[in-house]
Symmetry: C2
């Protein structure tokens, strides 16, 4: 089996296996043995490629954040130069792609969220991501309203996205992802109702 150039393959396999293990039994019971079995390799390989379990967990979180960033970036690139509303809508859709990418990613995300409270390395990653979402939203809202209002609008919509996404992905019986996405858009429409959306988009209640 030892061919050369295994490193990127193994890294990717192990990161995916980590999410799958967390999806199955939670972060607390996602042991190196379980993760390794999921990837079809031995446990020792994790220390070899990631320096240890912590390294693998950090790489996994980094992967999720990268995926999220790409999901948003792709949609926004397709817009060329759209209206603020278009950009914000793209940000919303990109964020709800997290769950589309996979169920495991959702549970992994939440697990990392909780444990990032106590692990500086993860906390840093998460803070950067939060800030990016907030800044992007704020910049777009700023094109439609005064700075103070734009800030509150960004905070509100960011919270809305997190809240809906959480409830949508974690208990799909009560709120499926598609409906969650629709509610987020409705909320955006509501927030933009009294503001000058230069290219008057013809949308009613729902």
């Amino acid at each position: 089996m030892p061919k050369t150039g295994m490193e990127p393959i193994r890294r990717s396999q192990l990161i995916q296996a980590t999410m799958a293990a967390i999806d199955e039994v939670g972060l607390a019971d996602a042991t190196v043995l379980r993760i390794a079995r999921h990837a079809g390799v031995s446990a020792g390989i994790i220390s070899h490629y990631f320096g240890g379990k912590d390294g693998l967990l950090e790489a996994t979180m980094r992967q999720i954040l990268t995926d999220l960033g790409q999901a948003v970036a792709e949609r926004r690139l397709r817009l060329a130069d759209g209206s603020p509303r278009d950009h914000i809508a793209a940000i919303i859709d990109g964020n709800f792609d997290r769950s589309q990418i996979s169920g495991p990613a959702a549970k992994t995300w939440l697990a990392f969220w909780a444990s990032s409270m106590h692990r500086p390395q993860l906390q840093r990653l998460q803070h950067v991501n939060d800030q990016r979402l907030y800044s992007n939203l704020c910049f777009q809202f700023r094109r439609l309203m005064p700075l103070n209002e734009a800030r509150d609008a960004a905070r509100t919509l960011a919270a809305m996205i997190d809240g809906l996404w959480l409830r949508g992905t974690l208990s799909p019986e009560g709120l499926d992802t598609e409906r969650a996405r629709r509610l987020a858009h409705a909320c955006l429409d509501n927030m933009l109702a009294g503001h000058d959306t230069s290219a008057a988009s013809p949308k009613e209640t729902a």
Copy 2:
């Protein structure tokens, strides 16, 4: 030290110590020894009063849900027979009391939320709580709009509360609790804007 009637005291102490330990080092590192030391007792006592660590964790989550229920109930009782808007506002304020009750409670809540994905006992508790929040909101919105709209309004506001509360209590640098609460109320006002609030409440944008 052995006086009679220690049970309720110890139970309460240990539950508080559990939250404090989770606040300090996270659920993963909240060992029985650490929790016991926080309460000023020995580790063995946990099995004695709660049958084991799992029992203590479940009791702790139950306590948090009870506190939340009371925070909401108290505010609603003060209303006697208020308008739907008043009741919903009381539900919002009650939910933001979670953090007022303590910072530890917030981190504990998130930790349980994540681990409830994989522990049926905790999942049950959390589902009951979710359902209660949704039902209460839905019932009040129902007094102002058609059923379908009321359901979506309830889902939206529930997500808004969770999202804002999460961001508010877990990273107070970016969004302090008081502002989060204000934004939730603003969102409610926005959602109720086009609806007949029988007792016309004189509130403008913000």
